[in-house]
C-alpha cells in the first residue's frame, strides 16, 4: 500500500473522531434543552449511599418519593394516593396511585417501596430514628403496604418526605436490596427524568431526558410536591469547574442556569439584561463551626462558651459575601424556620467581646497548647473564615494554628479523633442549609451522642432526651416549645457555633421560566425556555 501525506492525515482525523461517534446521535433542539451548571460535580449516582446534595439533585431527577414537601414545607402525598393511620397511632397504611412505572416500563409495587424504605433507613439519620420504633413493614398487595410501629411516632410522614439528603427515594426492589454500604449501579427510577448513560460523560456532563412513562399528579407544582410536569426534552448538568468560565458561559448564552455563581460578582451580572439573579432557598445556609469536644481546650464548656463571644458573624459574612445577602443569626434551628426562637442568644446581641472570651479560656484552664483550625483552601467559607477566627483567638491569648489543605484533606482529617498534635483537630468549618438545621432529628449535626455523634463528638444526655421529646411531640406548637428548651440547652453547653446565615443567589438566562425555589434540591420539572 502506498502511503501519502493525505492518507496519513485522513487516518489521523479518523482516529481522533472514532471515540466520539456516539455524539453524532440526534439530540433535542436547543430550545428544548436546558444546560445547567450546578454547585458541584455529580460524583456518585446513589442518593442513599452518599449524603452529597448534588446526588440528591440527581435522585430528584430520576426517582420519585412517596411523600414530598410543598413550598411551605408541609408534607403532601406524591407516589401515594391514599394513606391512613390506625386509632392507636401504631399502623400506617399506604396505597400507591395508579399508573406508576419505572422508566423501563415495569410497574412500581409496594415491595419496591418497602425495600427502598428499609435501605434508606439503614443509612439516613432520620430513617434510623424512625426505624428504632418500627416493628414491621408488611406488604399487603401490589399497591399497598404498612409501617407498623412499636410506639406512636409523630414524624413518620415528615421522615418519608424529608427534603435534605438522604431523601427516601423509591428504587426497584433489586436495586434497593443492594447493601447500603455499596453503591447501586443502575440509575433507574420512576421519576420525571431518565438518565441518559450513553450521552453522559462522568466528570464532564450528565444528561437527563424527559421520562415519557412518568405520570405526574394532577395538582399544580408546589415545592417538591404536586404535579411534576416536565416541559423540556433534556436537562444537562455541565461540570464547569472554573467559576469565571461558567459565568462567562452564562453571559454568552452557552449555559442557561448557574446554581451558585461567584457571589462577589452578583452585582455585575445583575446589570446584564439577559440574566435573572434570584435566591432559590429562602432558608439560606448557616455557616457553622464544629468544636472538638474530645480534646483540650474545647472539652471544657468554658472554652466553648468563649467561642460564642469571640465570633463576629458580620465580619465573616462581609469577608465572604460582601454587604448583601446575609444576616447574623443566633437561632440554633436557623432563622426563618418553624423552630426559630431567640432563647439564650444574649451572646449574639452583646456582640463580639474578646476580653470575655479571654477570661473564659482562662477559666477553662487553657494551657497554651496549639489550637488547630482546619482550613479548606478550595472552600468558599472554610478558606477565609479560619483566618479571621485564628486572629481573634490570638487576640484572646490562644495559640491558634491554621492547618491548610483542600476540602478532600479537611473531610479526612475531621474524622480523626486523635489529639490535634497527633493529626486531629480543634475547629473545622462548613455550611448547611437553614432548612436542614430546623429539624433536630434529621440533622446529624444536632446529635449529642458522643462517639456516635457527627464530627466534634459532643455528648449531652439532656440534648438527646429533648431530641426524642421533640420527635414524639404531636403538634407543631409542642415541637416549637421543645425547640426552645433544646436551644437553651444547646447554647448552655455550646454544641457548636454559628458564623452567620447567608442566602446565595442563582443566575439564569431571562428566557428560562418556571424555576421552583426550594432548599436542598433544585427541581427541573415545570421549567421551560421561552
Amino acid at each position: 500500500m502506498h502511503s501519502t501525506r493525505r492518507t496519513f492525515l485522513g487516518g489521523a482525523a479518523g482516529l481522533i473522531a472514532a471515540p466520539n461517534l456516539s455524539f453524532a446521535q440526534t439530540a433535542p433542539t436547543r430550545a428544548r434543552t436546558l444546560r445547567a451548571v450546578m454547585h458541584s460535580d455529580l460524583r456518585v449516582f446513589d442518593p442513599i449511599w452518599t449524603t452529597a446534595n448534588i446526588t440528591g439533585y440527581h435522585g430528584a431527577m430520576i426517582y420519585d418519593t412517596l411523600f414530598a414537601v410543598d413550598e411551605n414545607f408541609a408534607p403532601q402525598p406524591q407516589m401515594v394516593s391514599k394513606w391512613g393511620v390506625s386509632d392507636d397511632k401504631l399502623t400506617y397504611t399506604f396505597e400507591l396511585r395508579d399508573g406508576l412505572a419505572f422508566s423501563d416500563g415495569e410497574a412500581v409495587t409496594a415491595a419496591d417501596c418497602v425495600a427502598s424504605i428499609r435501605r434508606w433507613s439503614a443509612r439516613d439519620g432520620f430513617g434510623q430514628h424512625l426505624f428504632r420504633r418500627v416493628a414491621d413493614t408488611p406488604v399487603v398487595d401490589a399497591k399497598t403496604f404498612k409501617i407498623v410501629l412499636k410506639e406512636p411516632y409523630g414524624l413518620v410522614i415528615p421522615a418519608l418526605s424529608k427534603l435534605d439528603p438522604s431523601l427516601c427515594f423509591i428504587m426497584k426492589k433489586k436495586d434497593a436490596e443492594t447493601d447500603p454500604n455499596t453503591q447501586v449501579r443502575d440509575a433507574l427510577g420512576s421519576g420525571p427524568f431518565t438518565m441518559n448513560r450513553d450521552e453522559t460523560r462522568a466528570g464532564n456532563r450528565y444528561v437527563y431526558d424527559r421520562n415519557p412513562r412518568y405520570n405526574p399528579r394532577a395538582e399544580a407544582p408546589s415545592g417538591l410536591a404536586g404535579g411534576k410536569v416536565v416541559k423540556l426534552d433534556r436537562v444537562i448538568f455541565e461540570n464547569i469547574a472554573d467559576q469565571a468560565t461558567a459565568l462567562s458561559a452564562l453571559q454568552n448564552g452557552e449555559i442557561d442556569f448557574y446554581e451558585v455563581p461567584p457571589q462577589d460578582l452578583l452585582d455585575t451580572i445583575e446589570s446584564d439584561p439577559n440574566i435573572t439573579v434570584q435566591g432559590l432557598n429562602k432558608t439560606g445556609h448557616m455557616g457553622w463551626m464544629r468544636l472538638n469536644h474530645l480534646h483540650h481546650p474545647f472539652d471544657k464548656v468554658e472554652a466553648r462558651r468563649a467561642m460564642l463571644h469571640l465570633i463576629k458573624q458580620s465580619d465573616i459574612m462581609k469577608a465572604v459575601f460582601g454587604e448583601k445577602r446575609w444576616k447574623e443569626c443566633g437561632a440554633f434551628f436557623a432563622c426563618g424556620t418553624d423552630m426559630e426562637n431567640d432563647v439564650s442568644t444574649e451572646w449574639l446581641k452583646e456582640g463580639q467581646n474578646i476580653a470575655k472570651a479571654r477570661d473564659l479560656f482562662k477559666a477553662a484552664g487553657y494551657d497554651g497548647r496549639p489550637v488547630v483550625l482546619l482550613q479548606a483552601t478550595d472552600h468558599y467559607l472554610a478558606n477565609p473564615a479560619p483566618l479571621l477566627i485564628a486572629q481573634w483567638l490570638r487576640q484572646a491569648g490562644v495559640n491558634a494554628e491554621v492547618a491548610a489543605s483542600d476540602w478532600g484533606g479537611t473531610v479526612t482529617r475531621r474524622s480523626n479523633r486523635k489529639p490535634p498534635a497527633e493529626g486531629g483537630w480543634n475547629i473545622f468549618i462548613t455550611a448547611a442549609t437553614g432548612y436542614g438545621f430546623s429539624n433536630p432529628v434529621a440533622a446529624s449535626g444536632h446529635a449529642a451522642t458522643g462517639e456516635k455523634a457527627w464530627f466534634g463528638w459532643p455528648e449531652n444526655a439532656k440534648q438527646e432526651q429533648l431530641r426524642d421529646q421533640w420527635a414524639l411531640a404531636p403538634t407543631l406548637a409542642e415541637r416549637q416549645k421543645v425547640a426552645r428548651d433544646l436551644q437553651a440547652n444547646a447554647w448552655d453547653y455550646v454544641h457548636h457555633a454559628y458564623l452567620g446565615q447567608f442566602f446565595r443567589a442563582s443566575a439564569w438566562r431571562k428566557n428560562v421560566r418556571g424555576i421552583i425555589g426550594m432548599p436542598e434540591i433544585v427541581p427541573f420539572w415545570n421549567i421551560e425556555k421561552v
Binding site: A17, A241, A246, N252, R413, A432
Partner: protein
C-alpha cells in the same frame, strides 16, 4: 541495535514499576480519604467507616498494593471509586479532546514560532526583530490562565466570535471543532511560540553567518530560498529538539487550559480525580502517561540514528 531496543523496552517496564510503586505510596500516604468524600458532608464516622470497609480501603497498604498491581499486570487499571466506570473507558472518552488540543497547539505554535524566529533573524536588530522578541518574552511570561481569560473576554464575551468553553467532537464537523479549540490552542500555544521562536532566531543567526550562506548570497539565491532552503534546514536540529522538550511544557499547560476552557480532556480527568482522591484514575492515568513518555523518549533516541547516521547505539 536490535538488542539495544530490547534492552530499552525492558527498562521501560522497570521504570513503570517504579512509577507505579511511587504513585501508589504517594497517594495512599498523603492526606485524603475517598470514603469521606463519597459519604458526603452530613455522613457520620460510622457511615464513612462502612464505605471504607466495603471499598477495601481499610485493608493494610501492602494488601491493597498487591491487589492493584495484580490487576494492572492483567491489563486492568481498575474502576473509578466514584462513578464505577473502568479507568480505560474514562481515559478513552477524554483522549480525543486532549489529543486535539495538543496537536492543534503544536501545529499553530510551530508554524508561528518558526516564522517569527526566521523573520526576527532575517531582520535582526530592527524594529520587527525587537517587536517579535517582545511578543515572545511576554508570551513566555504570561500565565496560560491569564491569557485564557483575556481571550475569552475579548473574543467570546465582547466580540462574540467564538464560544467561551466546551468541546465539539470532530465528528460533528471540522468548523465547530475548530471554533471550540481556537482560543484554548492560542492561549496554550503562546508560551510555546515564545520558546521555539527564540531558539529559532538564535540558531538562524548562527547559521546565517556560515560561509555557505555567504556563497549562496553571492550566487544570487533569492532571500526566500536562502532563508527556507539553506538556512532553516541547517538550523532544524536544535529547533526539533526544543519542540520535543516543549512537549512536557505542553502537557502541564493542557491541564490548566482544559480547566479554563472547560475541555473534557485527560488533564481535567486527573485534576478532578485528585480533588476527590479517586485513586484508580490517578494511578492509571499516571501509569499510562509514564509509559507513553518513556516510549516517546525511546523513539526520539531511535530517530537520532535516522537523522545522523554517525550515531550508533551499542
Amino acid at each position: 541495535m536490535f538488542a539495544y531496543i530490547l534492552r530499552r523496552i525492558a527498562s521501560t517496564f522497570v521504570v513503570m514499576a517504579t512509577v507505579g510503586i511511587f504513585v501508589f505510596l504517594l497517594l495512599h500516604l498523603s492526606p485524603g480519604d475517598p470514603a469521606a468524600i463519597i459519604a458526603g458532608d452530613n455522613a457520620t464516622s460510622e457511615q464513612i467507616d462502612g464505605i471504607r470497609k466495603k471499598l477495601g480501603l481499610d485493608d493494610p497498604l501492602p494488601v491493597q498494593f498487591v491487589r492493584w498491581a495484580g490487576d494492572v499486570l492483567r491489563g486492568d487499571l481498575g474502576v473509578s471509586i466514584f462513578s464505577n466506570e473502568p479507568v480505560f473507558k474514562l481515559v478513552g472518552q477524554r483522549l480525543q479532546p486532549t489529543v486535539s488540543l495538543a496537536l492543534l497547539t503544536l501545529c499553530v505554535a510551530v508554524t508561528l514560532a518558526v516564522s517569527f524566529g526566521v523573520i526576527a533573524a532575517w531582520k535582526a536588530g530592527t524594529f520587527v526583530d525587537r517587536l517579535l522578541m517582545v511578543v515572545s518574552v511576554v508570551g513566555f511570561s504570561a500565565p496560560v490562565f491569564v491569557v485564557g481569560y483575556l481571550l475569552i473576554y475579548v473574543f467570546a464575551i465582547n466580540l462574540r466570535w467564538l464560544p467561551v468553553q466546551g468541546y465539539t467532537p470532530i465528528s460533528e464537523g471540522i468548523l465547530p471543532w475548530l471554533r471550540n479549540l481556537v482560543l484554548p490552542a492560542t492561549a496554550l500555544g503562546l508560551a510555546y511560540v515564545a520558546l521555539i521562536a527564540r531558539i529559532t532566531r538564535a540558531t538562524m543567526l548562527e547559521v546565517l553567518e556560515e560561509d555557505y550562506i555567504r556563497t549562496a548570497v553571492s550566487k544570487g539565491v533569492s532571500t526566500r530560498t536562502l532563508l527556507l532552503k539553506h538556512a532553516l534546514r541547517n538550523a532544524g536540529v536544535p529547533i526539533v529538539t526544543v519542540i520535543g522538550i516543549g512537549v512536557a511544557l505542553l502537557i502541564s499547560g493542557v491541564v490548566i487550559t482544559e480547566t479554563v476552557f472547560n475541555i473534557p480532556g485527560i488533564g481535567r480527568l486527573v485534576v478532578d480525580a485528585i480533588s476527590k482522591r479517586d485513586y484508580p484514575i490517578i494511578q492509571g492515568v499516571i501509569l499510562i502517561f509514564s509509559g507513553v513518555y518513556v516510549l516517546i523518549n525511546l523513539s526520539v533516541d531511535l530517530i537520532y540514528t535516522l537523522l545522523d547516521p554517525r550515531i550508533r547505539y551499542q
